[in-house]
């Protein structure tokens, strides 16, 4: 039983980090209808800046700098690349972000080189033990931070003028533009927010029990793909649900992989995608996504 509880808490915690990444995805998709494959490199930017600065300026300022840099890089990608692209086809725009990702990731992994960088977080390897169940401090911190950020974002989305503008743009961009909403600002803002969220996620993907930031950290961002799709690409609630489902699935399947041996070893990695396919078969637009209605 303790194992089960531990796995669930770990799954929820990792899932909430995935939710942060998936939320960034969804925000970008809502604002610009682009699938951002460069998300992994935004994550790496944030983590890298935090890692190299924390020794000199302390953890929190370094984290702030990391978040700000990732936001700026996100905005720059929108401003320098996506805004200039004249193609209509959204698949092509998605492929542009692959190009951006390759460039950024190559440069960052070159800089990281052979190091394993630590982010200088205050939790280190502390652990709470309650009735035999032990949970790392970092896990709790991730859960709390993600919960705060996601609720703040959902509130902002509902009540601030930025949120309203964004929802309007997602609903019907032409009408929104006619109503005086500057679409370019909306999408710039979306990319910046997504970058910032990715930087926060980078922190929690590289702290204990993971040894630190290195070149393979960006692979973790891949997990957010099934999370975002499973919840519905245009639904912020969906990103949250999707992230948690993927986190839980991964944690439980890995934890009990001994009992699932008939599915082959290492099934924990594949399980999120199987869940995603199953959901898509029943609900092609994800759990909370809006079904696309075509008007002629």
């Amino acid at each position: 039983m303790t194992t089960f509880i531990e796995l669930v808490v770990n799954g929820l915690s990792v899932g909430s980090v995935y939710a942060l990444i998936a939320l960034g995805f969804v925000i970008i998709f809502k604002a610009t209808e682009v699938v951002n494959f460069a998300h992994a490199s935004l994550l790496l930017v944030g983590g890298y800046v935090t890692a190299i600065l924390h020794d000199d300026i302390g953890f929190l300022p370094a984290l702030g700098a990391g978040i700000a840099t990732a936001a700026v890089v996100g905005a720059l990608v929108e401003f320098l690349v996506l805004r200039r692209a004249t193609v209509e086809n959204h698949a092509v725009l998605a492929i542009v972000t692959i190009g951006v990702d390759i460039m950024l990731t190559t440069e960052l992994t070159r800089r990281i080189g052979t190091e394993v960088l630590t982010l200088g977080d205050p939790w280190q390897n502390g652990i709470y033990t309650i009735g035999g169940v032990s949970i790392a401090h970092t896990r709790i911190a991730a859960l709390v931070t993600a919960a705060v950020l996601i609720s703040a974002f959902l509130l902002a989305f509902r009540y601030t003028s930025w949120g309203v503008a964004m929802r309007a743009a997602a609903e019907d961009s032409e009408t929104a533009a006619l109503m005086g909403i500057r679409l370019s600002r909306v999408s710039l803002g979306a990319w910046a927010v997504a970058g910032a969220l990715a930087a926060v996620a980078a922190l929690f993907l590289t702290v204990f029990p993971t040894p630190g930031l290195d070149r393979s950290t960006s692979f973790a961002a891949m997990k957010a793909f099934p999370a975002a799709i499973l919840g519905g690409l245009d639904s912020t609630t969906g990103a949250l649900a999707g992230g948690l489902i993927i986190g839980l699935t991964e944690s439980l399947v890995t934890g009990y992989q001994g009992d699932l041996a008939f599915m082959g070893r290492g099934i924990g990695e594949v399980a999120p995608f199987l869940v995603m396919l199953a959901v898509l078969l029943i609900r092609p637009a994800g759990l909370f996504g809006t079904r696309e209605l075509t008007r002629v």
Binding site: T106, P209, P211, T217, E269
Partner: protein, 419 residues
């Protein structure tokens, strides 16, 4: 129109037939004998010997590749400063495949006709994929991977032990010195693929002999958080953990286990540790009862050859980590060159001649603490494994816990060469 087609086709056919005569690929003219009476092969000219390095300098194994490559470049520079091999300068050609099979194949094809051999080829998927061609080319290759799949081929020389031998000796160490007894459960966390599976094969064998039930946990190279594995192992109540994965996974495993109060000894395969990890928050956990099973003595060991290498490397590449890969790369280049020298004495620097020279010797000892025997290509070059212990103060982060030992189990063990 038709006539144009015909005419141009005919003209071209004639040109083509005539021109292939000048193709450099036309048969004839290879090998030969140098003025010093030495039979020459690909990669060898009157004043130069070309060796190839196919490494991973940009992919997941870049930290390993960088240390190996720099150490080997250092070695060949020293060789050249001392007059070269067979009166010829050694020229090193480095190719990077970024751990991609296709690029490794392209690199091999490029080097195929130009180099005498490859003293460093990273990645067992890459070497396995090229095994057939390496054999038919008789290219002398030292793969930087230690799985049993790479044994059983005359031109491929795995340096030191294979992973299964290390694990057998590790279990011997655990039962003799760490109080593990018959009936105790042992956890084994291993990578998918031949690294992990080789190690698992050895662990299963020894665990069976010793009556230790094995709890297996297979992971992928992308898994960085070992919480779930530790939970499963703790649940099973294991008394010791074997770890055949990457350094990061070791760090995570040790970190989580120690933080949860699980104090059982951990023994990792030789690829399961990097000194850089002792600068991370995982350091305290890695310094507690954490061991490494390795065929080579650590770079900080008290051997004159090791000290000399450590100094030279530190001087040439200041600030670069001095890890076990440095020793490994250097010694591999050394026995590779030794084969060249022997082949030179036998006046045969053709590919077949080099391999014959390499396989001819009895015991090879370069003073780095790992005597090896290369005469049987379906057997590992040695069955002795050092057990190393982490130490924050030591160079390379490791000191010797138990001297190189060949356990009885390891001696009787039949190595599944080629698989």
């Amino acid at each position: 129109m038709n006539r144009t087609v015909l005419r141009s086709t005919a003209a071209l056919a004639i040109v083509l037939a005539a021109a292939t005569g000048c193709s450099s690929k036309a048969t004839g003219g290879s090998g030969g004998t140098g003025s010093d009476g030495v039979k020459l092969g690909p990669g060898v000219t009157a004043d130069k010997i070309k060796v190839g390095i196919v490494s991973d300098l940009t992919g997941v194994y870049a930290p390993l590749g960088k240390s190996l490559t720099q150490a080997q470049q250092l070695y060949f520079e020293e060789v050249n400063a001392a007059g070269g091999v067979c009166g010829r300068k050694v020229e090193v050609v480095v190719r990077d495949h970024g751990y991609d099979v296709q690029r490794a194949m392209a690199a091999y094809s490029e080097l195929q006709a130009d180099v005498v051999g490859i003293p460093q080829f990273i990645g067992s998927p890459m070497v396995t994929a090229l095994k057939g061609r390496i054999n038919s080319d008789k290219m002398f290759v030292v793969p930087m991977a230690w799985s049993t799949t790479l044994l059983g081929s005359e031109s491929i020389q795995v340096s030191g032990t294979t992973y299964d031998i290390d694990m057998i000796n590790a279990l011997d160490f655990l039962t003799k010195e760490k109080g593990v007894e018959k009936g105790d459960k042992i956890g084994h966390v291993y990578f998918e693929g031949d690294y992990g599976e080789s190690a698992l094969h050895g662990a299963k064998y020894a665990a069976g002999k010793l009556g230790l039930p094995l709890v297996e946990q297979k992971i992928k190279a992308t898994d960085n958080d070992m919480s779930a594995q530790v939970a499963a192992l703790r649940n099973a109540g294991v008394k010791a953990i074997l770890m055949s994965a990457g350094p990061k996974q070791s760090a995570s495993l040790a970190g989580v286990a120690r933080a949860k109060g699980m104090m059982v000894p951990i023994v990792a395969s030789n690829s399961g540790f990097a000194p850089q990890l002792l600068q991370t928050p995982a350091a305290p956990a890695l310094l507690k009862d954490f061991y490494l099973a390795s065929a080579g003595a650590p770079i900080g060991a008290d051997l004159p050859a090791q000290k000399k290498l450590a100094d030279a490397y530190g001087k040439k590449y200041p600030g670069q980590p001095r890890d076990n890969a440095v020793v490994n790369g250097y010694t591999s280049a050394a026995f590779f060159t030794d084969a060249l020298k022997k082949a030179c004495t036998a006046k045969d620097l053709s590919r077949a001649g080099i391999i014959k020279a390499h396989r001819s010797g009895s015991t090879y000892d370069d003073g780095f603490g790992t005597p090896m025997n290369f005469s049987k290509f379906d057997q590992p070059a040695t069955r002795k494994t050092y057990i190393l212990r982490t130490d924050a103060k030591a160079l390379g982060g490791l000191v010797i816990q138990r001297q190189a030992t060949e356990s009885d189990m390891a001696e009787q063990y039949e190595v599944p060469a080629g698989s």
